[in-house]
């Protein structure tokens, strides 16, 4: 095995892993705050992809504007959904289940709306970054490098936000104990909206980043949510480093696995591996009880 091939696989693994991590981070944040398994999370990624398709592909916007627009549109949509659909369900009995089904229904609605508005064909999204870079024997396109760097920036910003700012601390407080947080004067409902919006925005950002590398289609969400679930299981619910570590592990398994085995074998190995991890350590690699 040549060393360059390994490096190439490693770079691809990092790119996939960071973006899986971004998506899973949002899923995990929403679950931590509201106890909702957001089945419509993959659709947020899909919407991010379409923002990139229209702004970069059709209207020739530059990358930064597209990214900001993608994060803002998907984030606001997330906050709106939380306010109108999920929050009224939180006071009802069996909230976890009803909100799960509400999310499933929402995923269908968004998917069909996408088919109706954007068409059901796969769309290629032109990249805002053109060209390739040679590093030793390793070749990487600029768009992939950008995806790695921007994902890293987003995760760092989010970590700083959650750890250092007052609002970030409030979010963590609500995730730990709703009642205690409310007693400290934190408005739990506002924090919920905000966290839901941030979670969705992260998936939207990943969508904008990955759209030029893969295609966009209305049916992207289903596959993406499966990956995000795997990452969350690996890393542990509600843990930021866990989501990133889980994302990287999955990215490396997929990237290196496909060098040595067929895709179904890689998938079967991944699932068996994750099931074993879950049985031995149900809280995930870095999660808490």
């Amino acid at each position: 095995m040549e060393i360059t091939l390994l490096l190439q696989g490693g770079l691809n693994g990092v790119m996939l892993g960071l973006n899986y991590g971004l998506i899973a981070l949002g899923l995990s944040l929403i679950f931590g705050i509201m106890g909702i398994v957001n089945f419509a999370h993959g659709e947020m990624y899909m919407l991010g992809g379409y923002v990139a398709y229209y702004l970069v592909g059709r209207f020739r916007f530059n990358f930064l504007t597209t990214m900001i627009a993608g994060v803002a549109i998907v984030g606001l949509l997330g906050a709106l959904i939380e306010k109108t659909l999920f929050r009224p369900l939180t006071t009802r009995p069996k909230q976890a289940l009803t909100s799960l089904i509400a999310a499933v229904g929402l995923a269908w609605v968004l998917q069909m709306l996408a088919v109706i508005c954007f068409g059901e064909l796969d769309r290629n999204v032109p990249s805002a970054f053109k060209g390739i870079i040679h590093m030793g024997g390793v070749v990487i396109t600029k768009e992939r490098l950008a995806a790695i760097i921007i994902a890293l920036v987003l995760v760092s910003v989010l970590t700083l936000f959650l750890m250092k700012t007052r609002i970030g601390m409030a979010i963590r407080a609500v995730a730990q104990d709703k009642e205690a947080a409310a007693l400290q004067g934190i408005q739990v409902s506002r924090i919920s909206s905000l966290a839901f919006g941030i979670g969705c925005a992260l998936a939207g950002a990943a969508g904008v980043l990955m759209a030029p590398i893969f295609c966009v289609s209305p049916f992207l969400g289903g596959e993406v949510i499966l990956k995000a679930f795997l990452v969350v299981i690996l890393g542990g619910m509600g843990s930021i480093p866990g989501a990133m570590l889980g994302g990287l592990v999955l990215g490396f398994i997929e990237s290196f696995g496909s060098l040595f085995f067929t895709v179904p074998t890689v998938n079967a190995i991944t699932f068996v591996l994750i099931i074993i991890i879950l049985i031995v350590r149900p809280q995930g690699l870095l999660g808490h009880e």
Binding site: F31, G35, V37, F39, L85, P88, L89, R92, P93, K94, A96, L97, T98, L100, I101, A102, V104, G105, L106, A107, W108, V109, Q111, M112, L113, V115, I116, G222, L226, F229, L230, V232, I233, M237, P264, T265, N267, A268, F271, V272, I274, I275, L278, I279, P282, Q283
Partner: protein
């Protein structure tokens, strides 16, 4: 027998009579095709409801239906068992596998059990699609599954080859399932399940092993999932791994939640309502069919979280207001 239960029994009788006489009104194979599918889905939704009753959501429930379907098909086609023997064996197979899974995973709390069952569902799909293709048929699945028949030498011979005949078989199975579910719901066992779903700690404090009963509840649910799978395989006559993937369980969950979780008739009402809606009324809308379907589900959950079964309770205050205004 008091007055209320008499009316209830008359109601059941009338409903059953109506269902039995449907063949007098129509002859269309399509109608019976859909009715059979509704019946199979009712059995599946009831079995899912059993597991929801112990306070867990099993995302691999369709995989257990798949285990039933593949077990029954392979027994009939490869080992030439009779359908009437293969069906109970398929049910038992699904239940036994669920026992093993239950021992391993029911100690996980809340979301982790859900995530594990999600992994298990995907693993079953991957194994059925890509491995032992000679046995399981790979992604295209198994085809030409025979319809069952009853043959008692010199007495009679009954083929369930037409959709209309199969409808009676399904009807019998649905009645048996609902009857068992109702008896279980009213028994001590049903009470223990409800207690566990409300508070595991309190249930254990009065000396009930919640783990034991959760495993039992899961196995009972999977037993009926196996039944639904076996009936599905021999009715549709083609099974593929995709039929039992994670996506295949989301629609039935919607049936249960829309109908009303926890009650015996909730899943029955939810399944009938949504399936009749989507197969007989929304077909005209083409592209908008799934969109409307999703919107209806979201609206029902948003405004009637306890499901359609709570409709009389939701509406009655309005009627009350109307009456007092007069």
């Amino acid at each position: 027998m008091n007055k209320r239960s008499t009316t209830v029994w008359i109601g059941y009788g009338a409903l059953l009579g109506l269902l039995l006489t449907i063949p007098l009104f129509t002859d269309e194979a399509y109608v019976f095709h859909i009715l059979c599918l509704i019946g199979i889905n009712i059995i599946f939704a009831c079995s899912l409801n059993t597991i929801l009753n112990i306070g867990e959501l099993n995302l691999a429930h369709a995989a257990f239906m798949g285990i039933g379907a593949y077990a029954s098909t392979l027994l009939v086609m490869r080992l030439s068992f009779s359908f009437w023997l293969a069906m109970p064996l398929a049910m038992v197979a699904a239940a036994i596998i669920s026992l093993a899974i239950g021992f391993l995973t029911l100690r996980f709390k809340g979301a982790y059990f859900l995530l594990f069952t999600f992994l298990f569902a995907e693993l079953v799909r991957i194994l059925l699609s890509n491995f032992w293709i000679g046995l399981f048929g790979g992604i295209p699945g198994l085809t030409n599954i025979p319809r069952p028949s009853i043959q008692i030498p010199w007495l009679f011979h009954l083929e369930f080859s037409s959709n209309k005949d199969f409808y009676y078989l399904i009807l019998v199975m649905v009645v048996i399932t609902v009857f068992v579910m109702r008896r279980m719901d009213q028994s001590r066992l049903g009470m223990v399940f409800r207690a566990i779903s409300q508070s595991e700690t309190l249930t254990e404090s009065i000396g009930i092993s919640s783990m034991k009963f959760k495993i039992l509840g899961c196995a009972i649910g999977c037993l009926f999932a196996g039944l639904a799978g076996s009936l599905y395989a021999h009715f549709v006559r083609i099974i593929t791994p995709a039929d039992f993937s994670i996506h295949a369980v989301l629609t039935p969950i919607a049936y249960v939640v829309v109908g009303g979780m926890g009650s015996v008739f909730g899943p029955v009402i939810g399944t009938s309502f949504l399936m009749i809606l989507s197969h007989f009324f929304l077909r005209e809308f083409g592209l908008y069919e799934l969109l409307l379907y999703g919107v209806i589900i979201v609206l029902i959950i948003r405004f009637m979280p306890e499901g359609l079964i709570s409709l009389p309770r939701v509406i009655s205050p309005w009627f009350g207001k109307l009456l007092t205004r007069e």
